[in-house]
């Protein structure tokens, strides 16, 4: 498998993402936001503050050349993983439903966080067991996931919720920490 980590001006977890994939023996390359994505099986949208979070987090990143053909990539059944700012970009692209708001307590939260695995049948989570509590580091100021009631029902019905917070730190609806699209391509 070949992975590409997209680097936007303002990304700051791109090197972490690259190093982790490298440690897992995945062939990985950086893709500058101004380059076209070619021949990668996994696109990773890292955390950070792409384009300075201007207008809204992720709102400007969606125009990056690297994301122009992201829909073709998805159509071909390839994977996209958006972490933190990457998740925000995917909601702005309407590739994932909902939106991310300022944390309820307005604090930037940087800590370890227990998540409950809700769906272990995705390519991203199939080594976990359902209901397992896993510890992930979180670092975000706008991680408060919002979706309206109708959208939430849809997520639940389609088993699209992958992770939920054990102790909701940011006010996310239904304690949601990670979701996939209907084709199971994306994860927070």
């Amino acid at each position: 498998m070949k992975a590409g980590v997209i680097v936007f001006p303002g990304s700051n977890c791109d090197i972490d993402a690259y190093k982790v994939l490298e440690k897992l023996d995945v062939e990985v390359e950086y893709i500058w936001h101004d380059e076209k994505i070619e021949n990668v099986d996994l696109i990773l949208l890292p955390g950070g503050f792409s384009y300075g979070d201007y207008l809204r987090c992720g709102a400007i990143a969606r125009f990056a050349k690297a994301l122009e053909n992201i829909n073709d990539h998805i159509e071909k059944g390839k994977l996209v993983l958006g972490i933190c700012n990457g998740f925000q970009i995917l909601t702005e692209l309407k590739a994932l439903p909902g939106a991310l708001l300022r944390n309820k307590n307005l604090n930037f939260i940087c800590s370890d966080c227990n998540l409950i695995v809700e769906n272990n049948s995705t390519p991203f989570t199939n080594l976990f067991t359902k209901g397992e509590v896993v510890n992930f580091p979180i670092a975000h100021g706008e991680g408060n996931y919002y979706i309206d009631e109708e959208g939430l029902d849809e997520l639940i019905k389609n088993n699209q919720i992958v992770f939920r917070y054990q102790n909701n730190p940011n006010g996310s609806v239904y304690d949601i920490a990670g979701i996939v699209n209907k084709k199971e391509m994306y994860l927070v």
Partner: protein, 82 residues
């Protein structure tokens, strides 16, 4: 030319933690407010002379970029600039 003054705010149904924090700040100064909501203000200058045409353009800009309708809403007023 026409200048559009756009105000983007969180929908009423969405909790605005910034507004709540500012409301508490005002209270510390002795001001009591029933509610405080914070939004953003965008000004766009257009090379149009008809407000109807400008409105159409601004609505499309809001729909496609300026506003995230999942959580936000907007209002706009126009000024004809000689």
């Amino acid at each position: 030319m026409i200048k559009a003054y756009i105000d983007v705010t969180l929908k009423k149904s969405i909790l605005d933690p910034q507004g709540t924090a500012v409301k508490k700040g005002l209270e510390k100064l002795g001001f009591y407010a029933e509610d405080v909501r914070i939004g953003k203000h965008i000004e766009v200058l257009l090379k149009e002379d008809k407000i109807e045409a400008a409105r159409e353009k601004i609505d499309e800009m809001c729909r496609r970029l300026l506003v995230n309708f999942e959580v936000e809403t907007y209002s706009v007023r126009f000024e004809v600039i000689e």
